[in-house]
């Protein structure tokens, strides 16, 4: 028998291994913890290099209810969406999300202007209720995030959570807090490999270890610029595996928040009869956005709809068969 015909790509570097959550022995209180990254191959190509960990899914939970949800989301999350603690518990326990991503939208001056104490006690309440690590996101308004997030970091000290997002123009305050409190950080760049790299360098220069940084490449939803982030991720990951340490961080992709903004995920069947069932369409819009990101190299997906989470979880299990 002739030798097997093969085109094998071997790489010199692995992605950094990022640890999420700390157990009691490690100084935290999580009973479920995760490792991500550390792969030596492009997505799901097990024959080329080790891929030790499966990508994980974080359920998107908001501190203030969103009144702009399409009908399907509003119905399927009815009963929990007004209470972030119940919401998180439902997603982690029933929907099968691996962990919870808490977005502190309510600290934004225009959306509730909650203060550090509110945010801190919500984070602690969540940590009490769920066993998983948390991802904690600010509201995107730099000054307010710099005021609130360091406080939340401090009251959750030692839990090894993931905080975000820092950007090139505003990274020092939150990064310093996360370094001090033993957390990981999300570095956000606007669909740009060079800025992603530059920001990782800046963050590590002030003392954040490289294995505590995750890259947010700023994805677009399916049909809304998804292909830009898709290619940026493929480029960054190829460069990382070929030796660029400063791009060798795991990716986090905010799938749910993007997918559910898409018109196709929102419009009712009555408005667009040719597009079919609205609930299923929205779920599939989110699931396929997630699948494309997985193929581009995503390590953490944040997702919203319980059914979409179940579909993508099962798909990940299938993709991880080696």
């Amino acid at each position: 028998m002739a030798e097997e015909l093969r085109s094998q790509q071997m790489y010199g570097l692995r992605v950094h291994e990022l640890k999420l959550g700390a157990t009691r022995e490690e100084g935290g209180s999580r009973s479920k913890v995760f490792k991500i990254g550390n792969q030596a191959a492009m997505p799901f190509l097990f024959k080329e290099g080790e891929i030790p960990y499966a990508p994980i899914i974080a359920a998107e939970v908001y501190d203030v209810p969103d009144d702009d949800w399409p009908q399907s989301l509003a119905e399927d999350l009815k009963g929990v969406s007004k209470n972030p603690v119940d919401w998180a518990a439902m997603m982690a326990e029933d929907a099968g999300a691996d962990l919870v991503c808490l977005k502190l939208q309510g600290i934004h001056p225009d959306f509730g202007d909650k203060n550090s104490k509110d945010a801190g006690s919500l984070a602690t309440a969540l940590l009490k209720r769920v066993k998983t690590p948390l991802i904690i996101l600010g509201c995107g308004q730099g000054d307010k995030d710099n005021e609130v997030l360091p406080y939340v970091s401090e009251v959750t000290k030692g839990e090894r959570l993931l905080f975000g997002c820092v950007v090139q123009e505003n990274y020092k305050t939150l990064t310093a807090a996360c370094i001090a409190d033993g957390h990981n950080i999300i570095a956000e760049s606007p669909i740009d490999v060079n800025i992603a790299k530059q920001l990782n360098i800046l963050i590590s220069d002030i003392g954040m270890p490289q294995d505590r940084i995750a890259i947010n490449p700023t994805i677009g939803a399916l049909g809304y610029g998804l292909e830009y982030a898709y290619s940026i991720m493929e480029r960054a990951r190829s460069a990382a595996l070929s030796g660029d340490k400063m791009l060798a961080m795991p990716f986090i992709c905010f799938v749910g928040q993007e997918a559910w903004r898409a018109k196709e995920a929102r419009v009712s069947e009555a408005e667009s009869p040719l597009w079919g069932n609205a609930r299923e369409r929205g779920v599939m819009w989110e699931a396929m956005t997630a699948i494309a990101m997985l193929q581009a190299g995503a390590d953490i997906l944040t997702m919203r709809h319980p059914k979409a989470i179940k579909i993508v979880k099962a798909a990940i299990a299938e993709l991880m068969k080696r």
Partner: protein, 442 residues
Amino acid sequence: MALSGLEIYKLLPKTNCKKCGFQTCLAFAMQLAKKAVPIDKCPFVAPDVRVILEQASQPAIRLVEIGSGDNKVSVGNETVVFRHEEKFHHPSAIGFLLEDDASDAELNRALDEISKLQFERVGQNIKVDLIALRQKSGKDMFLAALSKIKKVVKLGIVLMPASLDTLKAALEFCGEERPLVYCSDAALLDSFAGVCKERRLPLAFRKPDMNGFSEQTKRFTQQGFSDIVLDIAQNSTSERLWQLTQARRSAVKKGERSLGFPTMAIVETGDEYQAMVQAAAYVTKYASIIILRSRKPEYILPLLTLRQNIFTDPQKPLQVEPNVYTVGTAGEKSPVLITTNFSLTYYTVLGEIEASRIPAYLICVDTEGMSVLTAWAAEKFTPERIADTLIRFELGRIVKHKNLIIPGYVAMMSGDLEEKSGWKIFVGPREAAGISSYLKNL
């Protein structure tokens, strides 16, 4: 795989005799590499070298055409592994698996559903491409189903007959069309290939691994038959992705001709959701043809949208022509909005204005196809450019007011723009979704 000028030079006589019209063999080689001159210009190329050069000028992955006329689908001819290296050329053809033992009612319903699967997105018509008919009953049933399909839908056809006899009868039926012939029985492969070669039809078949494909395609090409599609077998999704990646990479990176053919993935996973997300993975990773069972529009629209995204040329984002577009019955008092000429931005904004039912003018500034924020960062959506655009499109003659609504994301330029243009600037919402209510509350 294409040879470089230097590689071609090494194969030339290197005498610099100038018969080809160039000063040196090297100069000629460089032009050959660019395909700017035919090889015949040099009378001294050795016959074996000519064969090498001709082969090298073939695409790494063969172009295969299915169907004819309006239904023609081209697959293959891909040149890269990652879309950022150039682009993906031919969108995966999406098709549906039907079986001839379906009842009349079932078949009618299926065809009715399939014929509705076309959608308008960002100015493009996106639609499904193929119907695959698999033989499970006798020849007559197969032919009856085929005739019904041909009557009802205008799509390319994949014939999956179980015998040579059925194949021949079905081909009589197909006339001038060029169906893709699929051979599911290894024992029939040679006879099917014989028929396809004679009638110049493409043939798809399955082998367990790359070696199996390679040996088979070498045999076929030696016989002068190379309209081949590789059907990558259903194993685990990751194994199938591995094989799809292997075929693509071996062909375009290593010049492995025996694997340089379009690929096919038939998705028969029972769970409909899993089947759809699997198909999505194969759109991103290298399946030239994907055959499915599910045909619900709520699943097919996302799949076709994904295909549209992945097969967009990364160097040329879809653009619309910079211009003033009239929405509804706009007149001299109607509001004026401005945005970029990135087609996704344009169509999203346009859709929201239409939804508001308020007639308006929408100006597209030439930002070379960049979205609002990107264009602003790249200085393609600046107060100067916007002011120029207002003059160039003579907005002063179109409306009798000087109020301009700009995207919320560029609120910071309002003052500067007001000064440069002399128009009064209103800051619209950041997200297109807010436009409709913004216009209603003007």
